[in-house]
Amino acid sequence: MKKFINDASAVLADSLKGVAAAHPELRVDLENRVIYRGEATRPGKVALISGGGSGHEPLHGGFVGTGMLDAACAGEVFTSPTPDQMLAATQAVDAGAGVLHIVKNYTGDVLNFEMAAELAEAEGVRVASVVVNDDVAVEDSTWTAGRRGVGTTVLLEKIVGAAAEEGYDLDAVVELAQRVNANGRSMGVALTSCTVPAAGKPTFDLPEDEMEVGVGIHGEPGRHRVPLASAKEIAAMLVDPIVHDFDAGGLAIVMLNGLGGTPLIELYLMYGEVVPLLEAAGVSIERNLVGNYITSLDMAGCSLTVLKADDELLRLWDAPVVTPGLRWGA
């Protein structure tokens, strides 16, 4: 395993120290592993919390700041954070208007956030949750744990964060968050496995001439293993399942996301390949992101997210955001 680490079991703690040093504008609670905005929540503003296993950076800590999250709870690598962290964060950011928990749909995340919400409600904090489940790679989702929460999470945190900043109340924030989730779809492919520090070796072996289609963000194998394909062919593997899953036509925000080990030159190349396919499916790309936003450690791969948009979503998208991972308008 070749990584910049001291000790596989201290990766998260050591990395958070770096986050704290790099971002004096944020407040990092190293004890509870929670990243907060520098200032307290504005009274009356709905607070947004997310969190999950680490290894997906900049998600979630990199999205804490004006116009996006109020706090992010960091779990161990690929392991949901715990209810006590979430409770601490929830109580700290509540400014009377309630707190939204943004949860990616994984059993661990759901269960831990559920426990945290119960505890917080018992402490008198109004908590609502949205569970993001946008991954079309998970096909038979009805009788299972359902679809994974992946790329749409980033777009949701941005858009709902802007709404909270604008003064939407908790009910409106929840309604909006559900709408964003319902309108987002993602699909991912991997060229290599990632290596979980505590495991010390790649999660799976992938021959030089094969790739995994339909991967999530936890180094899990995908739904299918296929021969390595050209960027053009891979673009179709990303676009097709999305446009077959829902009517993707109309205005959209599109994200071509890197999984951590793929350089920007390839991500732009992939973006150039997906655009004509999306346009052929009637998607009118109004805004886009190309880069590493929700990663899977050092995995070489990418994912495509299509979020159907409307004027409200685009307005909220364009609103100022000041976070380490996304910044504009201020």
């Binding site: 779990g75 161990e76 831990n112 096909e139 744990a145 899990e220």
Partner: protein
Amino acid sequence: MTVAPSTVTIDQLTDWLRRFQGLVAEHQTELTELDSVIGDADHGANMARGMTAVAAKLDAAEGDGDGPASVADLFKAVGMTLVTSVGGASGPLYGTFFLRFGMSAGAVTTLDAAGLGAALRAGLDGIVARGKAELGDKTMFDAMSPAVDAWDVSVAAGGSPADASAAALAAAEVGRDATVPLVARKGRASYLGERSAGHLDPGAASTTLLFRALADALGG
């Protein structure tokens, strides 16, 4: 022929936990490898982190000189430690197991075979309440449910705690191995669909270690 003791002491239950910690540490790599194949390669690390925290808690309590006042206290502390140190799916699930176990056992310092069986069943129900798993979903439930059933059957037939724990372990092993051909319907492995078949569920493996530790502690 010595008659097996019919009650289980709080010290034996503590021994169970320590043995579980030892087995998890011993099998950490194996659990993570199982989770690499159909999950996210962290089950060994998760369980080891949690049980190390539990052991540290037990050490601290012993160091203070005052052990837990009751089985309820002991397992509440264990459950909370797991909930706050593990995360992932296994943290709330094992945490709830031990919390409910302790609540069922109550403010006692010994349990008879039936009482321990009731506590195990309460723990199992807690896992279902949280995770909604059913038999055949390819989860820890597939090892734990037959184990708790076997405990009850053994006790109903007049078995001692030692007998019951041996029966439970045997059933857990069978249930664990039966997860191999299954297509997962809960947890991360479910994302793999058909590709999850042919592999042992990591949670079923750690649950089997839990029952092996119990059998070891009770002489079963």
